[in-house]
């Protein structure tokens, strides 16, 4: 498998073509956070909204445009964190960041199990410029969580 094929694995292509969670929805919850992030290299943007129900990530929806890596990444993010606990979501977030920093080498089995489909992004870690693309949605998610929890206090 060439580096290029390793980067654009079928899973990624599929998520890019049919992204999950696209289209901002009203979670109908009290704890809602939203974040808008821009990849300044190319102008790609994502707006992501999170609804929290206690310590559960009840809803993740987003809107945006970008390269296949950034779109597929938000899509798997949606699958990994929606309907999971905050703790699980944060573990997924950490594991994904580790994957990006692994320079294409992969992670230990525990973490890869945690990531599921998202391990397909392993090839992106070889390309520093593309890590930004893959992280765009996750940056928005992280920031949206902060916004949502602000309402707590």
């Amino acid at each position: 498998m060439s580096s290029l094929e390793q980067m654009y694995q079928q899973v990624i292509m599929d998520h890019a073509r049919e992204a999950h969670g696209r289209g901002l929805t009203d979670p109908g919850l009290i704890q809602v956070g939203q974040s808008h992030q821009v990849n300044t290299t190319c102008g790609d943007e994502v707006t992501l909204r999170v609804g929290l129900d206690g310590d559960r990530v009840a809803s993740v929806s987003w809107e945006g445009q970008g390269c296949s890596i950034s779109q597929a990444s938000v899509s798997v993010l949606h699958d990994l964190v929606e309907d999971h606990t905050l703790a699980e979501a944060e573990s997924a977030m950490d594991a994904f960041r580790d994957l990006m920093q692994a320079k294409g080498e992969g992670l230990d089995d525990d973490k890869e199990d945690l990531l599921g489909d998202a391990t397909a992004f392993v090839g992106v870690g070889k390309y520093p410029a593309r890590i930004k693309c893959a992280m765009l949605g996750w940056m928005a998610f992280k920031d949206a969580l902060i916004q949502a929890r602000k309402d707590e206090s």
Binding site: L4, Y8, C42, Q65, I69
Partner: protein, 424 residues
């Protein structure tokens, strides 16, 4: 007449990328590679002649000053200017900001009566075009914020050419500055300088030309173009990073207050007031990029030896291959005018949008083949927006670019739609 193969002069071009693939460097519009002559000139300066310029009475200071001023004269001659009409800057962006910032300073009272002619304010207009690089748009837009003047612009048509039908309504008696690019870094279109300058003169507006994409690729003569100011960069014309230049008519440079203040630019300083030297010194406060000036002059010499007419002809051939080639690929759209062998208003680059494929993904496929192209908005968000896309993939050549390089781009691009499953 065939253009000489000069690749051996450029050490970087011998390197391989991505698992031993030969490098196809098509990102010269962003930054060019440097010939050994440039690197050697800088090194020779640093190893033999480095000293404080214009400030010491010792031998090294003398030698450094001599080389620095000789470099100025050479770069000036390269664009048809007099030596004292060239101000060194960090890059072209700084050169454009120098003019905008100085006008802002004049408007705030700096420079006093000597600079009063540059004052602008509410009711005055600053004019740019929709084809500008951010470097020749944002400084003017923010000068308008700063002074209360109004920013206006000449729109472009679907081909990226300036809509000259609008010239007379946009550039009017209220226009104080007309700033425009000589050649677009996205569509490659060369502006009708003569028409624009004529109109500016008619209404008494200053003209500021962005020469970033013309000076490295075409014969440029500021005297013939008859503009008031022109900015250009060292690193795009085979010179070092860290240096650019502003051409300005001497009388204007002498009356313009400094945009940036410091040592070496002043005559007399008290705690209360400062008087400035003449141009170019008044606009060169602080220790200048001296080794870089020497390198930029070596680049001008290198280009002159090739001959800028020959360079332009060479790049026209590249343009033909690139622009004709991409136009034949289904699902690929060329930004700017279609290739027309009769038209002479396009430089040697091609920016394309691939239907359904994001520029970043296009770039990745090219990079995998060792092709270095640029993806994104190329610091021209408004122009991309006007052309209906958010970004593009650009191939841009220089003297070391071969026709095979251009063909490699076209071939690789042709594989993109199917790779991403978007072929028609």
């Amino acid at each position: 007449m065939t253009f000489p193969d000069v690749r051996d002069d450029f050490p970087l071009l011998t390197r391989t990328v991505r698992n031993g693939k030969p490098l196809v460097y098509l990102d010269s519009g962003a930054t060019a590679q440097k010939p050994r002559a440039v690197l050697d000139a800088e090194r020779e300066f640093n190893e033999r002649h480095n000293g404080a310029v214009a400030r010491g009475a010792h031998l090294l200071a003398e030698e450094a000053t001599g080389l620095f001023e000789a470099a100025r004269a050479e770069v000036a001659a390269f664009v048809g200017a007099r030596a004292d009409e060239i101000v060194w800057t960090e890059n072209a962006t700084a050169a454009l900001n120098l003019v905008a910032g100085a006008i802002g300073n004049a408007s705030a009272g700096i420079g006093g009566e000597e600079s009063a002619a540059f004052r602008i304010g509410p009711g005055d207009e600053i004019c740019v075009t929709e084809a500008e690089h951010h470097a020749n748009l944002v400084p003017w837009q923010q000068l308008a914020v700063r002074t209360g003047a109004t920013l206006r612009w000449i729109p472009v048509d679907d081909d990226g050419r300036l809509d000259l039908d609008r010239l007379d309504t946009v550039v009017t008696e209220r226009t104080r500055v007309l700033a425009f690019t000589h050649a677009s870094n996205i569509t490659g279109v060369i502006s009708p300088v003569e028409t624009l300058v004529a109109r500016a003169k008619e209404v008494g507006a200053l003209t500021v030309l962005d020469g970033c994409q013309s000076v490295p690729h075409l014969p440029v003569d500021v005297a013939a173009l008859d503009v008031d100011f022109m900015a250009f960069s060292g690193h795009k014309m085979l010179g070092p990073t860290g240096i650019g230049a502003l051409f300005g008519r001497k009388a204007l440079l002498d009356a313009l207050p400094p945009a940036v203040f410091g040592g070496g630019a002043v005559k007399t300083v008290t705690m209360e007031t400062t008087s400035w030297q003449e141009a170019p010194m008044r606009h060169e406060p602080g220790t200048q990029p001296v080794a870089q000036a020497v390198g930029m002059a070596a680049a001008a010499r290198y280009l002159s030896a090739l001959g800028m007419d020959a360079v332009a002809a060479h790049e026209r051939e590249l343009a033909a291959i690139l622009r004709e080639g991409v136009a034949d690929i289904p699902g690929v759209r060329l930004l700017g005018p279609a290739w027309d062998s009769g038209a002479t208003d396009v430089i040697g680059l091609a920016a394309v949008a691939v239907d359904g494929v994001h520029p970043h993904d296009v770039g990745q496929v090219l990079d995998d083949r060792g092709i270095a192209a640029r993806v994104g908005h190329h610091c021209g968000q408004p122009l991309h927006r006007r052309l209906g896309v958010t970004g593009s993939t650009r191939a841009s050549g220089h003297v070391y670019t071969t026709q095979d390089d251009a063909r490699a781009f076209v071939e690789a691009l042709a594989t993109v739609p199917s790779f991403f499953g978007v072929s028609a």
